[in-house]
C-alpha cells in the first residue's frame, strides 16, 4: 500500500465547489441521463470525496478505485435516484460504505470497530523555534486532528473541510445530530487546548 502523502502547497484551503443551490436541477438532469449534469457533479465533488476516502483507506490506488466505483454506481442508478437529504451526502455515504468495505475485505479478520480514519502524524517535538508561522501551525493542527478519537475527528473533518451539515454528517455516520454536534464541540475544545499549549511554549519570552 502506498502511504498517503501530503500535498506540497500549504495554506490552500480545500477548493469547495458548492452544488448546494443547483442540486435539484442537477438531480433532475441526472435522472434524465444528462451527461453534463454528471460531469458537473463529478467536477465539484471528486477532489473532496477522494481525500475523504484517502483518509479512510490510507492507500492512494484503492482510493481512486473507490472513487470510480462510486461515480459509476451513481450513473448506473441515475433513474432510480431518490435523494432524501442531499446529493452530496448521498455520494459521501456511498463512498464511505465502499471504503469501509475495502478495509474489511483487505483484512480477513477485522474487529467490528470504527474506522481508523486518520493517519498518525507524528507530532514534531517542540523545538526552540522563535517564530510562529502558519506553516508550522497547519502541520500541528493536522497532527492534533489526527490524534482525536476517530469519530470525533471524522465528524469535525466532514464539517470543517467537506462542508457537510450536521444533518448530513449524522446520516453519513449513523449518529444522531446531537452526537455529531457534541463531537464537533469536543473537537474544537481539544484543538483549543492544544493551541493554547502551542502558543505558550512557543513564546519563549
Amino acid at each position: 500500500m502506498t502511504p498517503v502523502t501530503r500535498s506540497n502547497s500549504s495554506h490552500h484551503p480545500l477548493k469547495r465547489l458548492d452544488i448546494g443551490e443547483k442540486q435539484d436541477d442537477l438531480v433532475r438532469r441526472l435522472r434524465r441521463s444528462d451527461p453534463s449534469a454528471f460531469s458537473e457533479i463529478f467536477d465539484a465533488l471528486h477532489a473532496p470525496v477522494l481525500r475523504y476516502v484517502q483518509r479512510i483507506l490510507r492507500d492512494e490506488d484503492e482510493s481512486y478505485d473507490v472513487l470510480q466505483d462510486v461515480f459509476s454506481k451513481l450513473w448506473e442508478g441515475r433513474k432510480d435516484l431518490n435523494v432524501h437529504s442531499s446529493l452530496k451526502a448521498l455520494i459521501y455515504r456511498m463512498a464511505r460504505n465502499r471504503a469501509l468495505n475495502v478495509l474489511r475485505k483487505n483484512d480477513r479478520m477485522v474487529a467490528q470497530s470504527e474506522i481508523e480514519a486518520f493517519p498518525e502524524v507524528s507530532d514534531p517535538s517542540p523545538s526552540a523555534e522563535a517564530f510562529f508561522s502558519m506553516d508550522q501551525l497547519s502541520e500541528r493542527i493536522s497532527g492534533w486532528i489526527a490524534a482525536l478519537p476517530p469519530r470525533r475527528a471524522e465528524a469535525f473533518v466532514l464539517s470543517r473541510y467537506h462542508d457537510l451539515s450536521a444533518d448530513e454528517i449524522s446520516n453519513l455516520m449513523n449518529l444522531s445530530k446531537r452526537t455529531v454536534e457534541t463531537h464537533i464541540l469536543h473537537a474544537l475544545r481539544d484543538l483549543r487546548a492544544q493551541l493554547n499549549k502551542f502558543e505558550s511554549t512557543d513564546r519563549n519570552d
Binding site: 501530503r6 500535498s7 484551503p13 481525500r51 448506473e76 479478520m109 502524524v121 493536522s142
Partner: protein, 319 residues
C-alpha cells in the same frame, strides 16, 4: 450557509468567552490543508472512462457473470391454460382464477443455488436453503414472500415491488439489493443490503415509518421488530453470489448453519457451548465444507472430524 448555522447551534449554550475562543479555533483550522494528493491525470482518465461508459447502453455490471453455476432446481408451476378456461362459464372462470393465482414456490435446496425470473422480468437469485413464494399474475402490487436469503434485480415498472419476510416488509423502487431473512436460530432478523437504487424497510410489528436506504446501506429488522439504523451483527452482503463465505460478528451457531445449508451437510457440536461465540471473517470460494471448517476451526480453539452424517467439532485438548 448551513454550516454557519450548524456552528451557531453547536456553540449556542456556551458563554461568550468560550464562544469567541472556539470560533477563533474554527477559523484557524481553516488554514489546514487536507492531506492527500489528487492526481489530475488519473482523475481525467477516470472521468473519461465514466463518460465513455455512458454511451454504451448496457453499462450494467451484474454479478451473474461472476457466478459460476446457478441452476433452477425446484419450481411448482401451474398449468397455464387459463386463457382457455376463461372462455365459458362461472365454474370455468373459478377454475381459471385458481390456476392463474396459484402460488409458485421456488426453493434452493441445501448445497445448491436457484434463480428465477418473475413475470415482470425481475430476476431473483436464491441462496442455499432459501425459498421464494409468489402468485402468478400480479395484483395491484408485486408481492413475494421470502424465507432465507436472495438477491433481487427488480425490473423497473410503475408498481412497487414488495418482499415480505417473517418480520419485515421491503418495498422496492427498481433496483438491486440483497435480503437475508432466516427466521430460526439464535438471532432471527431480516437484513437488507442495497447495491443500487432505492428501497424502504419496515418492521411488520412496529408502527414506525419505513426507513429509506441508499446504495451501500445495510439495515436490519431485529427479532424484536426494531429497524436498526446501523446493521446489527452480520450484514447482508453479496459475497455469497460469488460463492465467497462471509460473516460479520455473527454467532458461530449461525455460521455453522450456513455451512450446513451451503454444502448440504450436518455439523454437530456435542459438548461444546458455543452460544456466546461470535466471529468475523471472510473466506474466498471455499470448495468444500471441509476446507471451510479447516479455516474456521483454525480461527477458534476447535478441531473437527468427519462423521457419518457430516462433521463434528470438538475442543482442541491441552490448550
Amino acid at each position: 450557509m448551513q454550516e454557519k448555522r450548524d456552528l451557531e447551534n453547536i456553540l449556542t449554550d456556551l458563554d461568550e468567552a468560550e464562544k469567541t475562543d472556539l470560533l477563533h479555533v474554527w477559523r484557524i483550522a481553516g488554514s489546514v490543508d487536507e492531506p492527500g494528493r489528487v492526481d489530475t491525470k488519473r482523475i481525467d482518465s477516470i472521468k473519461a472512462g465514466l463518460i465513455a461508459g455512458m454511451i454504451d447502453a448496457r453499462a450494467d455490471k451484474s454479478p451473474t457473470k461472476n457466478v459460476r453455476s446457478i441452476r433452477l432446481l425446484h419450481a411448482v408451476v401451474p398449468i397455464s391454460r387459463f386463457s382457455m378456461a376463461l372462455a365459458a362459464s362461472v365454474v370455468l372462470l373459478a377454475v381459471a382464477y385458481l390456476t392463474w393465482y396459484r402460488p409458485v414456490v421456488v426453493t434452493a435446496l441445501p448445497g445448491q443455488y436457484a434463480s428465477v425470473v418473475l413475470d415482470d422480468g425481475t430476476e431473483v437469485q436464491l441462496n442455499s436453503g432459501a425459498s421464494l413464494k409468489y402468485n402468478r399474475g400480479w395484483g395491484a402490487t408485486r408481492r413475494v414472500r421470502l424465507q432465507g436469503e436472495a438477491f433481487f434485480d427488480v425490473a423497473h415498472t410503475d408498481e412497487p415491488f414488495q418482499i415480505q419476510t417473517f418480520n419485515a416488509v421491503v418495498t422496492v423502487y427498481g433496483t438491486r439489493f440483497n435480503v437475508r431473512a432466516w427466521e430460526s436460530g439464535q438471532d432471527p432478523r431480516t437484513d437488507v443490503f442495497l447495491e443500487r437504487g432505492s428501497v424502504s424497510l419496515k418492521s411488520v410489528s412496529s408502527p414506525d415509518e419505513p426507513v429509506m436506504l441508499v446504495p451501500g446501506d445495510s439495515r436490519s429488522v431485529s427479532g424484536t421488530g426494531l429497524v436498526s439504523e446501523k446493521s446489527v451483527g452480520g450484514m447482508a452482503d453479496t459475497d455469497w453470489l460469488r460463492h465467497d463465505f462471509e460473516f460479520r460478528n455473527d454467532p458461530l451457531s449461525e455460521v455453522l448453519k450456513e455451512v450446513e445449508r451451503r454444502f448440504g451437510t450436518q455439523i454437530r457440536t456435542p459438548g461444546l457451548s458455543i452460544e456466546e461465540i461470535r466471529i468475523t471473517g471472510s473466506i474466498k470460494e471455499p470448495p468444500t465444507a471441509e476446507s471451510l471448517l479447516s479455516d474456521l476451526t483454525g480461527m477458534l480453539n476447535f478441531a473437527y472430524r468427519e462423521t457419518s452424517g457430516g462433521f463434528e467439532l470438538y475442543h482442541r485438548s491441552g490448550q
